[in-house]
Amino acid sequence: MRGTRNQWGVAVLLAVVLASCSSEAAEPQGSSEGPGSITIYSGRDEEFVKTLFDDFTAATGIETEVRYGDSAELAATILEEGDNSPADVFFSQDAGSLGAVADGGLLAPIDEEILDRVEDRFQSDDGTWVGTSGRGRVAVYNTELVDEAELPGSIFDLTDPSWKGRIGLPPTNSSFQAHVAAMIVAYGEDETRGWLEGLMANDPRFYEDNGATTRAVASGEVEVGLVNHYYKYEVEAEDGSLPIENHYFDRGDAGSFINAAGVGVLASAANADGAAAFADYLTGDPGQTFVSEDSWEYPVVAGYDASVDVPPLADFAGPNVDLSQLGAALPQALDLLAQVGMV
C-alpha cells in the first residue's frame, strides 16, 4: 500500500516538473519557429556565414536562429531527432552530410526553379538538396619549411615516410570526412583504408577544423595541412604576412576532390516557406554575388565568377565523383576513420 502511494507521488511529481518545464520551453521554441523566423543547423563556420545570415534577414525580414556544428555531427543529430527536429533548414559544409540526411528521408524536395539555376554537378540527382558554393581540397603548406617541388602530385604519396611528423589534418571536420567518402566512392574501401593507415603511420597531428589546421601550418607547428582551398585566403585576411601557399594535386588525382556546400529543407520544417526562401536566397543573386565577391569559393550558378585569386576549377578538378553518392558513403567513411584510429 505504502509502496503504491510512493510510486503515485513520484509519478505525479515528475509529471508536474515536466509539464511546467515544457510550458516554459514552448515559448522560446514557438517564437523561433513562428512565421518570421527559421532555425538553421549550420555546418558552416560562424565567421564565414554570419554576415550572409544577417543580409538574409535584412532582405527578407525572416529572423534566423542558428545552431553551429560540424556538418556530419549536425546530420547525425537530425537523423537522431527525426521528425522532432527543431531545424527548418540544414546548411552543410559538404554534400555527403546532406546526402545522409536525404537518405534518411528527412529532406523535402527543393523548388524546381532553384534546381534549374544551379549547375547539375552541384545538386543531388533526386532534388533533395542544392549546392550553394563549390570548394576544392588542397594541401596548404608552409613556404618556409617546404619546397613546392617537394610536394607530391598525388595525395597517395603523402604516406611516404619522408612526411613523418609533418602533416596536419582535421579528422572530425566534415570536409575531410567527405573527402574520405569520395575516395571510397572512387577507389573502394580497401585502397582508402590503405591510404589512411599510411597517413597514420606518419604520425599526423589532428586539429579541430580547417581553420585551425591552416593556422598550425602558418605557425610552423606542422608543415602541410589537408584542407579546403579557401582557408589560405581566409587566414591571410587575418594576417597577410603568413608563409602559407596552396598546393594543388595533379588534375584527376584523388587529392583534388571538388565538393559543394549546400542546403536542404527539412520535411518536418515548421517554417517551410522561410526555409525555401533561404535556399532561394543562397542560390539567387545575393547569395551567389556573396560567393563571387566576398569569398574565395566557387559560385554554383552560371554567370558568376570566382575570385581572381583562385585557379579555375577546371584546372585541378579531381576524380569524377557524383556528389549524390557521397551521402551513402559518408557513414562508411566515418566508420573507417574510427577503425584506423583517427577519431
Binding site: 516538473v17 515536466l18 518545464c21 555531427e73
Partner: protein, 540 residues
Amino acid sequence: MARAATITVERGRGRRAPVPLQAAALGVTALVLLPIVYLVARALEADASSWRLIMRWRTVSLTLHTIGLAVAVTLAATAIGVTLAWLAVRSDMPGRRVWATLFALPLVIPSYVGAFTLLSALGPTGELQRLLEPLGVERLPDITGFPGAFLALTLFTYPYVYLVTVAGIRGLDPAFEEAGRVAGRSRAHVFRTVTLPLLRPSIGAGALLVALYTLHDFGAVSLMRYPTFTQAIFLQYKAAFDRTPAAILSLMLAALALVVVVAERRARGRARYYRSGTGVARPLRPVPLGRWRWPALVLSAAVIGVGLVLPAGMLLMLLARGLAAGTPLNLTIWAAGASALVSGAGAIFALVAATPIAVLGARYPSRRSRSVESLSYMGYALPGLVVALAFVFLASSYLPLLYQSLPLLVIAYVVMFLPQTAEPLRAGLLQLTPRMEEAARTLGRGRGRILKDIVFPLIAKPALAGAALVFLTAMKELPATLLLRPTGFETLSTRVWTSASAGLYSRAAVPALLLMLLSSVPLAVLARRVGVNPEGVRQD
C-alpha cells in the same frame, strides 16, 4: 564529509517522514537516475556493429589512458596540495598569509581555459618559443598528449586538496602532536605517524574531488588531444552516425567514476578519528623551516607562476592582441548575461530539489532515507558529458518540447550538482535541533513564525553557500552546456570553447577573463563561509 549525523536527532529516529516529503525526495532521485537508466536501455538495444566498435583494443587503451591520467593527476595534486597547505598553515614561510590566499586562486581557472593558455604559451611555436627564438630555439617540444593534460589538470585541481587540507589542519587538536613530541619523537616522525593519519579523511576527500574532476574533464583533454573516455565519447558523438557506441562508452566511464566514489567511501568508512572531548582550542605553533625555507619558496613560486601568473598573463596579452585586431566585445556581454542566467537558475532549482533530500536526511534518518540520499547524489559522480548525452538522446526522442531548451539544461545542472546544495543544507538542518522549534512552539509561536524567526535565519547561510557553489560550478561547466543549450544560446564557457578549440586563442581570451571575474563573486561568498566554518569547504 564530516558526518555530523552522530548528533542524533532522537525525536526524528523511527518517525515516518510525511508522504509528500518522501514523494518529493523520490521524485528528485528518479530525475537524477533518469540519464543512467536511459543509457543502460540504449546500450541494451545496441546491435553487433556498435559492439564491434567497442570490443577492440582501442577501448582498452582508452581505459588505460583515462585511469593513468586520473592516478597521475591525483597523486601529483595531492602531493602539491598537502605540501602547500602545510607551508601555508604550519610553517614560518615568509609571507605565508599572502601565499595562503594565492594557493587557492587557480581554482577560478577552468581546466579548458588553463589548457589553452598553456598551449598558447608553451606550444611548439608559442610565446615561450618566441621569447627564446633569439637564442636559436626554433621550436619547443610538443606538450599535447599526456604532459599537457597532466600539467593542466594538476595545476588547476590541486586547490581542492589544498583547501580541504588547510581546513583539516586548522581543525586539528594540537594536543596530539604535542603528546608525540613529549614522548620524544622527532618532528618528522610525529608528522608521519600522528598528523598525516589524522588528516587522512580530509586529504582523501580532496583527492576524490581531483580524481573525479580528472575523469569528468572534457575541455582540457580535448584541447590537449589526450585520448581519454570523454574525448573519445565526444568524437564518437561528433563523427559517427551511430551514436550507440557513445552511449556504451559513457556507461563505462560512469562505472569508472562510481568505482572511485565507492572506493573513497570505503576507505573513509574504516577510518575514524575523534577527539574525546572538545579539545584545546588554540592555534598551532608555526614550525621553523630553517634551511628548507628557500626550496619552499621556490616551490610556491613555481606553482603560482605556472598555475596563476602564466594563465592570467597570457589571457591579458591575448586580450590586448585581440582588442588590437578588433575582436568584437558585444557578443561576450550577452554571453555573460546568459551564463549568469542559466547558472543562477541552476543554483535556485538545485536548492529547491535539495530541500526534500536534506530534510529527509537530517530529520528522518533511516536506512531508507540514507539510500535515497546516496542515490540522489549519483549525478555528481557522473561526467557532465555523460549526463548531457543521455538528456540529448532522451529529449530528442521522447521529450521534444524540452529538447534544446533552457529548462532541460537547468535540469541537467540540478542532476549534476545537487549534493553541492544538499550537503550544506543537511548540515545546517542538523545544527538546528527540533528542540528549538518545539521550544518556540511551547512559547506559543505559530508554524510560520517559527520558520521565519528560527529556521530560515539558521539555514540561510548554508543554503546560500550551497547555491553559490552550484552557481560557480555551472558557470564553468562546459560539456553539458555545449550539448544541451538552445539554438543560438551562447554562454561564456561555450564562447571560450568554440574559439579555443578552433585555435583562435585571442578570441577566447575575453570570455575567459569575464568568466573568471564572474566566478570570483560566488567564490568570495564561499571563502567567507570557509572562514566561518572550515568544515564547509569539504562540500565543494
